[in-house]
């Protein structure tokens, strides 16, 4: 039996909007994620995916229920949980390489080491040529890759990724999938990292995930295991088991009628 890395029990979160309306972003979410698992969160816009990630990160306190990571209750963010945000989070006042070094410098890693690691991850996301640029000089997709490199370079044990590749072109996206899967596999002491990956893209979820959790209106409505071997080729997505999963997901997203 493998150990539980992230455990959410009866998690709920409501917001009071400025117009006075009460929004239930999450209600009674129970979720156990095992160490080393790659979980994709899918669901329609506004169903609470970002909120769930923010609660796991410790950025937003739950209104009810419990969130435990590594056996400890989450009360604040910390470097053991890296997060790529849906919105642009790259610091505009730091050059690209300084952004990528940021997490390492917060942990007091020596400058030479920091620069080496940052250069390596910039290379992996294909941005070596803009290491010395200001973020304002980059395109939206490049900024996203800087954010990804920053989080990857920091090497957190738990990676929380909120639509990290949503703004990217197909080719770059596929390349970054490989980077991510490599990173996932090379956690400390040969153990896989734990990844929670939010996406709207059903195919992306099936290429990446061990498990796909479907959220709707703040609740977990389905939880599917994806057993196909890795690396997953285009053919793998056409296996009967995978096609069945795709139909289920599309049904959840309201694109196909239930059969």
């Amino acid at each position: 039996m493998s150990d539980v890395k992230i455990e959410a029990s009866a998690l709920s979160r409501s917001y009071r909007r400025a117009d006075g309306a009460e929004v239930k972003a999450l209600s009674a979410v129970d979720l156990r994620i095992e160490a080393g698992q790659f979980v994709c969160l899918v669901g329609p816009s506004g169903c609470g995916k970002t909120t769930l990630l923010q609660i796991i990160a410790g950025l937003v306190p739950p209104s009810g229920g419990n969130i435990v990571v590594n056996g400890q209750r989450v009360t604040a963010p910390g470097p053991s949980r890296g997060m790529v945000f849906q919105k642009d989070s790259v610091f505009p006042w730091m050059r690209v390489h300084a952004n990528v070094e940021y997490g390492l410098s917060c942990r007091g890693v020596a400058k030479a080491e920091r620069q080496k690691v940052a250069a390596q991850y910039l290379e992996r996301v294909g941005l070596s040529h803009v290491a010395g640029a200001w973020p304002r000089e980059l395109s939206g997709g490049m900024l996203k890759r800087v954010a990804v490199a920053t989080v990857f370079a920091n090497g957190a044990d738990v990676l929380l990724l909120d639509e990290p590749f949503g703004a990217l072109d197909y080719v770059t996206k596929r390349q970054l999938h490989d980077v991510l899967l490599t990173l996932w596999a090379e956690g400390e002491a040969g153990r896989r990292r734990t990844v929670v990956f939010v996406t709207h893209d059903v195919d992306e979820a099936m290429i990446l995930a061990d498990r796909i959790v479907v959220l709707r209106a703040g609740r977990v409505v389905d939880d599917l295991a994806v057993a196909a071997d890795r690396p997953r080729t285009t053919d793998a997505l056409l296996l009967p088991g995978m096609v069945r999963i795709k139909h289920i997901l599309l049904t959840h997203l309201g694109l196909e009628a239930a059969r």
């Binding site: 990160a57 604040a76 910390g78 949980r81 890296g82 610091f91 940021y102 917060c106 973020p135 304002r136």
Partner: protein, 290 residues
């Protein structure tokens, strides 16, 4: 990129406008010949300002450096006049910048402190908001009674005026820092001190630029105000002294010095801040894009 136009082609229009202003002044001096006192024209022309007036500033030279003062019986000389201008300007500028640095540092520290945790906010915020509403110039006599003609009095006054501006500017700028940057830093485990050093401080710099420009203006005003009442030297002292004898031309000359010094300090500040704010997108260039 189009080549940057030369200095001359960028600035000729501004220079022409300034020259036109000077010309209007000269014409006025011929048309409007009323006098504040016998021999003291209300609108002194340039030939007076850079001739008789400049020479008369020798009155403010206290002697030394081998150049005798007028009070000691020496005839007014251009050397004494220039020395008078330099020494009085120096006094004013030292008062201004000592006060500016002290006030900016204290105001920034307090402005950051109120966002740090609830206690400083409770303790510091209300009293400073209260102080902010006291009109600065109304406080000049108060500072004079407290400090007399001491150097520290003028510095404290300038520091007070600028500190209050910086406090309000910094506290407000911190509130405007986008949450996403703070969240991002926190997920990397940034300590609070690191968060302030690497996120809050750089993020508020663009707004601090505006605060600094406002503070420079206020600072020049404050140091003058302080010198009006309690100083034996400095440009403000020269103005008050001239006013007592209706030396309009001298007041005008000192005002020109102010314009010169203020312009130089704005320009210097602009250069420094531009380098620090290299990372911000160039904006406000509506005319270039339309």
């Amino acid at each position: 990129m189009t080549p940057r136009p030369g200095w001359w082609s960028r600035n000729w229009a501004s220079l022409a406008a300034i020259a036109a202003m000077a010309g209007v002044w000269e014409i006025l001096s011929f048309i409007y010949t009323a006098e504040a006192a016998p021999g003291e024209p209300m609108v002194p022309g340039w030939e007076i300002v850079f001739g008789r007036t400049l020479l008369s500033l020798a009155d403010y030279w206290g002697g030394g450096l081998g150049v005798a003062s007028v009070a000691e019986g020496a005839p007014p000389s251009y050397t004494a006049a220039v020395l008078a201008i330099i020494s009085n300007s120096f006094d004013t500028i030292v008062r201004l910048y000592t006060g500016l640095i002290a006030g900016a540092a204290a105001g920034t520290a307090l402005g950051l402190a109120v966002s740090w945790s609830p206690w400083p906010r409770r303790v510091v915020d209300s009293p400073l908001q209260f102080l902010r509403t006291l009109p600065l110039l109304a406080m000049v006599p108060l500072f004079q009674l407290w400090f007399g003609t001491e150097f520290i009095g003028k510095v404290a006054f300038v520091a007070y005026g600028i500190g209050v501006i910086f406090f309000a500017g910094v506290a407000n700028a911190v509130r405007n820092v986008p949450q996403i940057f703070i969240d991002n830093a926190r997920t990397f485990g940034a300590s609070r001190a690191t968060l302030y050093r690497t996120v809050i401080f750089p993020a508020i710099l663009p707004e601090l630029r505006a605060t600094m420009l406002l503070a420079l203006g206020t600072g020049w005003g404050a140091v003058l105000g302080a010198e009006y009442l309690g100083a034996q030297s400095g440009l403000g002292y020269m103005i008050v002294y001239s006013e007592q004898f209706a030396y309009l031309d001298r007041m005008f000359f000192v005002a020109l010095l102010f314009v010169l010094y203020a312009s130089v300090s704005y320009a210097l500040f602009d250069r420094v801040s531009r380098r620090l704010l290299d990372w911000t997108a160039k904006s406000g260039q509506v005319s270039a894009t339309l």
